[in-house]
Symmetry: C2
Subunit: 664 residues, 2 copies
Amino acid sequence: MEQEYLDQRLARESIDTIRLLSADAVEKARSGHPGTPMEAAPIAYLLFTRHLRHNPCNPNWPGRDRFILSCGHASMLLYSMLHLTGYDLSMDDLKHFRQLDSRTPGHPEFGHTPGVETTTGPLGQGFAVGVGMAMGARLLAARVHPELFDYRIYALCSDGDMMEGVAAESASLAGHLQLGNLIYLYLDNRITIEGQTDLAFSDETASRFLAYGWHVQHVEGENLKEIDTALGRAKQDSRPSLIIARTHIGIGAPHKQDTAEAHGSPLGSEELRLTKMHYGRDPDESFHVPEQVAGHLAAAKDRGRALEARWQEALHRALGDNNAGLAAWQQATEAGLPSEWQSALPRFSSEDGMLATRQASGTTLNALSEHFRLLLGGSADLAPSNNTALKKEGSFRPGMADRNIHFGVREHAMGAILNGLAHTPGLIPFGGTFLVFSDYMRPPIRLAAMMGLAPIYVFTHDSIGLGEDGPTHQPVEHLAALRAIPNLTVIRPCDANETAQAWRMAVDNRRGPTALILTRQKLPVLDRREHGSAEDLSCGGYILAREQGALDIMLIASGSEIHAALEARTLLQADGYGVRVVSMPCWELFDAQPKTYREEVLPAGGALRVAVEAGAGMGWERYVGTGGMVICMEGFGASAPAGDLMEKFGFTGKHIVARIKAAL
Amino acid sequence: MEQEYLDQRLARESIDTIRLLSADAVEKARSGHPGTPMEAAPIAYLLFTRHLRHNPCNPNWPGRDRFILSCGHASMLLYSMLHLTGYDLSMDDLKHFRQLDSRTPGHPEFGHTPGVETTTGPLGQGFAVGVGMAMGARLLAARVHPELFDYRIYALCSDGDMMEGVAAESASLAGHLQLGNLIYLYLDNRITIEGQTDLAFSDETASRFLAYGWHVQHVEGENLKEIDTALGRAKQDSRPSLIIARTHIGIGAPHKQDTAEAHGSPLGSEELRLTKMHYGRDPDESFHVPEQVAGHLAAAKDRGRALEARWQEALHRALGDNNAGLAAWQQATEAGLPSEWQSALPRFSSEDGMLATRQASGTTLNALSEHFRLLLGGSADLAPSNNTALKKEGSFRPGMADRNIHFGVREHAMGAILNGLAHTPGLIPFGGTFLVFSDYMRPPIRLAAMMGLAPIYVFTHDSIGLGEDGPTHQPVEHLAALRAIPNLTVIRPCDANETAQAWRMAVDNRRGPTALILTRQKLPVLDRREHGSAEDLSCGGYILAREQGALDIMLIASGSEIHAALEARTLLQADGYGVRVVSMPCWELFDAQPKTYREEVLPAGGALRVAVEAGAGMGWERYVGTGGMVICMEGFGASAPAGDLMEKFGFTGKHIVARIKAAL
C-alpha cells in the first residue's frame, strides 16, 4: 500500500505539474528562478501531501507545522504548492508572478501571501529563522502545553545555506539544543551562480552537521520512497535533522539541466517546450494542471481541516482543565497586551544616585518579565554586560526550554532566531549585544522591519562612553545606520526613567522591531520635578529644560549627551543666553508627531540649533538645518577611560559652550 | 638538546613573566582581560621564540610570518610579547595600557603599535583576515616569487572564533583552497562570559574542521613539547592547521582560574598577589622581568635580523634575475601607483547606447587589471551579475593562486578576506555582491576604514531599479548606512563615464576603502559635450546641467536618478523655471572641497533645493536644509519590473515635477 502510493503515476504527474507550473510562471514573468522548483518538486510534493500538518483553509492555525523556503529565490515552487493544495492563491496570482501589486512577488514575503511563514531570499536567513521557530515551539510546549505545540519546522535549503555564516551559527545552536522538531532538506545540486559548487565549496557537509550534533541522512532527490523514509526517520530522531538530497537543477530541461543557466533566468520558450515534451506534456500548453492532479493535491484541504479540528478539540479540552499558561497564551494571542501592564514599570528617583541606562534596562526588563510570562530572550554571550538576564527564570537548555536564552557568540544567528521567536504566537522576544555588534545582525533586523515583526534589541555600550575597550568596540555610525532602516524604532534614553519608558514603547509596538540604545557608563537620574516628564519620551522628543527668558539656543541631544547639554545650558544661562534643552531619544516617534507639536518643541525663528550626540552626525541636519551646528564624532574613537574620551572628543558642557561661542 | 630546551627553567620563567606582566598591566589600568594572556602564555612564548620568522627590529619586513591575535581582548599578551622580544614598545607603554594616546590600546590596533598585524577585537574578524593574508601570500608566491613569499600566518583563536559565522565561512574557504600556510591555535578553555562554554556550544570542533578539510591536532596548553611538536607537524601539512589547546583561563589565579571572572576584569590586588605567590614571585613586585628572561626573549632580535638579512639577499639575487613580476611588486610596494595609469581608463560614448553602470564597471575593471598585475578579487557567487570577472585571468583554486577569487556565498568572509589581502604588500583587492548584502559585511568594512586599508567594494543592484527580485534584494537604507562609516568613500556614479572615474578615485585612494554603488538596469551614457565633465566626479559633486536664466530650482541627485532629474529639468524649463542639476556621486569627496567650490555648485539664496535618490532620505538635509525637499524611498520596495517601480515610487521626471509644483 505504502509502496503503491509512492510509485503511482499520480505522484509523478503531480510532481511534473509542479515543475512545469513553476517554469511557466517564470517564463511568463520573463524573470525568476526555474531550476530549483524543478529539482525540488518531489520533496515539496511529499512534504505538502504526506508530512506537513497544515490546513490550507487556515494558514494561521497555531498548531500547524511550519514550512520555510530558505532558498527564497525558488519562490515559484512555494506558490505552486500553495495554489495546488488549496491556499488562497489563484492561478491568476501565479500568472502575475513578479508583477506590481501581485501576491506572488519575486521572493516569498510574509504577510503578503497566505501560507508564507517568513520572508526569505537573503541566503541563510530562512535556515536561521527556522531554528528560532523551533525554539519558540519548544518554549510553548514547556510553558503552555506540550501536545498542542508539538509542531515541526521544515525547511528547504540550498548551497547558500550551507555556506552562509548565519546558517552555520544557528546550526551549531540547534544541534546544541537538540531541536528534534527541526527537519531540513538540503538540495545538493552541485551548481552555484558562478558554476560548479566545487569552485568555492568542498565541505564534507554530512560530517560537519554531525559535528554540530545533527542527525544526517542522504537521499536521491528523485526517489520518493527514499525521501519519504528519511522524513519518517527524521521525525523519530531527537536531534535536528538534515536530509541531504542529491538533486539536479532544472531537471528535465534538455540543455540546461545541471548548469548554472537553469538558476536565475527563464528557460526560454524553446527549452521550455522541449522540457514539456520530456515530461510527456503538450509543449503548447501553459499553466496546465491535469484534473486528477488538481483533485489529488487539493485533498490537502480536507486533511487539513480534520487535523485542525482535532487540535481545536484538544485546545478546548485543555482550556477546560484550568491551564493558567494556556489561558495566558490565549490572552496574548487573541486579545493582545493586557491592560494596565504599564503599572509594572519601575520608577527611578534622582536620589537613587548614578545609574547606567543598561542597569535601568535590566531592572525594567525583570519587572516586565513577571508580567509577561512569554517574554523571553538573552544575549550573544554578553548577558552580564547587557543586563539581559531574567533573574527568576531558568536557562533554555537541551531538553528544557526556559526563558533565558544563551545565544553564544553568534550575533547574526541571534537576530534571525529572534525573528523565528517573533513569528511564534504569543512570544515577545528580546536579544542583547554591544551596539557596535548590531552590524553583525543587520540582515535579520532589516527582515524584521520588513515583515513587521517586533523583537526588541538591547544594544548597550552605546558610544565612546564605554571607554577602554577602544574604537573596535565604540559605535560611531551605528545610530545613523539603524535610524536609516524603515520601520525600525530606535530609542536612546538619557536616564533611568526614560529607559523604563523606552521599554514601554518597545513592548507596546508590536508592528515592528525596536532597538534600545543604552550606556555602559553611569548617568544621573534626572529630577523630573525640575525637568520635562520622562513619559514624554512617547513623543520621541520633548522639552527637557526650558529657556530662561528669550530663546537664543536650542540644544538637541540624546542619551548620555543630554547631561553635557544640561551642563552647557547652565554655563550659557550664566552668561545671559536663553537656552532650551530638547531630549530627542527617538527620531521615528518625533517625526510621527503633528507639525504643531514638533514646532512647539523646536520653534522656527532665529535661535541657534545645536545637536549633540557622540555618534556620526549624519541626519541631524534634519533638525538643525544648514545653519545649525552638529557636535558629533568626526571619526573613530580611542581607548581610554570614558571621562578622558568625553574630554578629548568634546562632549562636555565646557566643550559645547566653547563650540557655540566660537560660532555665535 | 631539544627536550632540554623545552624543559628548562628559563622557558617556565619566561612564561610566568609574560603572565604576570599582562596581569599587572590590566591591574594598573583597572580595566582589561587578564585570563587569556595567562592561559596562552606558553603558546605565545613558543611562537615568538621558536616558530615565528619575525624581525622585531623591522615589523614591516615583507617576508615575515604574520601573527594575529584573533582574540583581541587578550591584547596584553601581544603587548607583553612585543615588548619582551624587542619591538619598539617600552615598559612605560605597557604601564599606560588602555590610557589616552598610549600605544597600548584596549584591543590591538593596526598602524598604532609596531608589530600589530591587524586590528582585532570584534570576534571572528582576525580569524578571517588571516585567511585573506594566507591567500595574499599564495598570490605573491604564484605571481611574484615562490620562495620570497613562503611566509605563514599564525593566529590565536578563542571560543568566539569557533562560534562566529565569519570564522566558519572563512574556515570553509581556507579548507577548500588548502591553505597550508595557515596555522591557527584555538584556546579551548571551556569558559565564556556567561559561564561554561557548554551553556551554548557543544560542537565537536575537531570533526567540524576536518569536514572543512583542515589538519587538526590536540595538545595540552601547558605542555611545551606537545605544542612544539604540533607546530612542527602543522608546518609540514599541506592543509590549514588547527591546533586545539586545552587551556585554563586565568591559570594560577587561585580563586579565579577556570571561571568567567578571570575574563574581563582585573584579578584584583589580593588575587594578583596570590597569583604571584603561586608562581614563586614576590607579591609586592609589579612589572617585573627577571634579567635572564629579558635576555633570553630579546634574543629574538638577533635571530630576526639574521632571518631578514638572508631574505634581503635572496630578494637581491632574484631581482638580478630580471624577474618582471618582482620588479612590478617592488614598484607597487615602494613607489606606489605607476604614473599615467589613468590612461588605461576606458571612455564611453553617448552613442554606445544604454549601459548599466555595473557593465561599465566590468569594462573598466578589466582594463585596469591589465595595468595592475596585482589587482585581484571576485564576488560572493555573483560574478556574472556583479561583472567582476577578470576575463583574461584564471581562478584562485587549490594549489593554483590566480586573480579571480570565488568567495562562495560568503559575503562576511569576503569582507574580512579583502582586509587580509589589503594587508598584503602590493595587492589591490576588490570584492562584489549586491548592495543589499553589504549588510552581511559591515563589520570588516568598518575595520578596513579604521585601519586605513583600501579594498574596493563593487556593490551592484543598487536600488528598486533591480526590479523583480523585490524588497528583500532592494537596498533602501544601505547608501545612508555606508555613508555614515568614517573614512569609507561611497561613490554612486550616474553613467558609464562617471563609473570609470569612480574606479579611478577608488584605485587612487590607498588610505581607506571605497564602495562603488552600481545599477543593474541600463542607463543612457550622457553626452558630455552638453553636460559637465565626468572627471569632475573627483570633486564629489558638480554641475551637470546649468540653469537657463535665473536659478529657481536645484536638483541634486546620484546614480540612476540623475536621468529622472534631467528629465524633470527639461519639463520644468519648458514651464519657464531655471533648473540646475547637480550630480552628487560622492558626499565624502564633495564635503572635502573648499567652501568656495561647494557654494559655487550649491549657491546660497532662494532657489528651491531638491534631492532625489531612490534610497532612504537620511542625511540629504545636509544639502537641502530644513526648507528643501528630499524625494526618496519612505519604506521598503516591491517586486515588479523596474520601470513599474520607478513609476510607483515616484522616481520619474514627471513625478519629480509634480512634487516640486505642489511645493512651489
